[in-house]
Amino acid sequence: MKTDDLVALLSTNLEPVDRKAVVRTLYVAIATAAIAALGIAFAGLGFRPDLTTTRALIYLTIKLAFAIGVVGLAMTYLMSLARPGGERRMSLFLIVVPFLIVLILAAISLGSAPRAHWERMIVGDEWLECLLSIPIIAIVPFAVSIWAVRKGAPTNLSRAGAFAGLIAGGVSAMAYALHCTDDSLPFIALWYGGTIVLCTLAGAALGPRLLRW
């Protein structure tokens, strides 16, 4: 086939293009992912019974602020990573900020508590449940995010995969927060932060295979 013929074929009866497609697909994906994660968390685990008490609401707000901060930042990164060359001139510092804030708050909270309470603050009641639930709830959001990125054209597949994993982990943590009754900052830093990082690493590992085009 001559290249001229290919060019002629592609140009015949050209359709206009929807320029907002990349951004819109990602928003649709994030909304779908959030609904799916909430549904799975509610059906599988149920929401915490004391959800309306002040103490529960304070910690729920902290957990949600952390998770939403992570997801919001990761979305802005993914919007450029879904486009060719989007990885250029990208500073990765901003995405670390929510993790740093939670770690600092956790350290302050540990510092102001007696040493005897530390173990309970870090391990909580349900660390194992948290460790398993967030990655499991993240599976559907991850699939949806990967679908959305595939609609674009990422050229750095491990990084795009990592951010898809990060969003999935963040969305999942948001949903799990409605169930989780472990109310301490060190617990949030370690088990929420840790599982979200795990999801990110899994995304980075799977990206090159799932995102090729």
């Binding site: 290249t3 060019v7 206009p16």
Partner: protein, 185 residues
């Protein structure tokens, strides 16, 4: 910003609006730049230039199919370069070449030289088309090869008008995948 960048970006913006002549001129000019780029790269990694035209066509198809990912606030050259380089690395990986040999290059390199050698790839589009499902084959043949309108094509292929558009898009994507699979030595 170079004159070339300004001209090509103007063509790209028009083509996104559905201007077929601009699209044709854009792809035509990009294919010459890509030809020179790929020839130089293939030589640099110690491969013959015979495969350059296959790569040019893969990249042209990718640019066409992924044109919705171009952000008009950004310059065009880095976007084209990212696609060209991605397709080069993908090609070398498929052919199990050592990736360590691919030198890092600057975005401008993709536009650096013009190569107008009238070239043919190893792909035979009519033959590849036969491997597509009927609907896709009919839609692409009617609209893209015979130049019928979407309404006429819908009539000929027994599809709805949106069905024709979907089939063309999916068909070109499948063709691109078939071409990529064929380009394995």
């Amino acid at each position: 910003m170079t004159t070339l960048e300004i001209e090509l970006k103007a063509l790209m913006l028009a083509s996104l609006e559905g201007d077929a002549a601009a699209h044709r001129s854009l792809l035509d000019r990009l294919s010459r730049r890509l030809r020179a780029y790929y020839k130089a790269k293939l030589v640099a990694v110690g491969r013959g230039i015979a495969e350059a035209e296959d790569l040019v066509q893969e990249a042209i198809l990718a640019i066409h199919l992924k044109r919705h990912t171009y952000d008009p606030r950004e310059p065009l050259t880095p976007w084209v370069h990212a696609i060209a380089r991605y397709k080069l690395i993908d090609f070398l990986r498929r052919n199990r070449a050592s990736l360590a040999e691919v030198p890092i290059d600057e975005a401008d390199e993709v536009m650096a030289r013009d190569d107008n050698a009238d070239a043919e790839s190893t792909h035979d589009i009519r033959r590849l088309m036969q491997r597509l499902p009927k609907g896709m084959q009919c839609a692409i043949e009617a609209v893209k090869l015979d130049g019928l309108s979407v309404a006429e094509a819908a009539n000929r292929c027994g599809l709805s008008e949106s069905g024709v558009k979907v089939n063309i898009h999916r068909g070109l994507k499948t063709l691109a995948a078939l071409i990529a699979r064929e380009t394995r030595t």
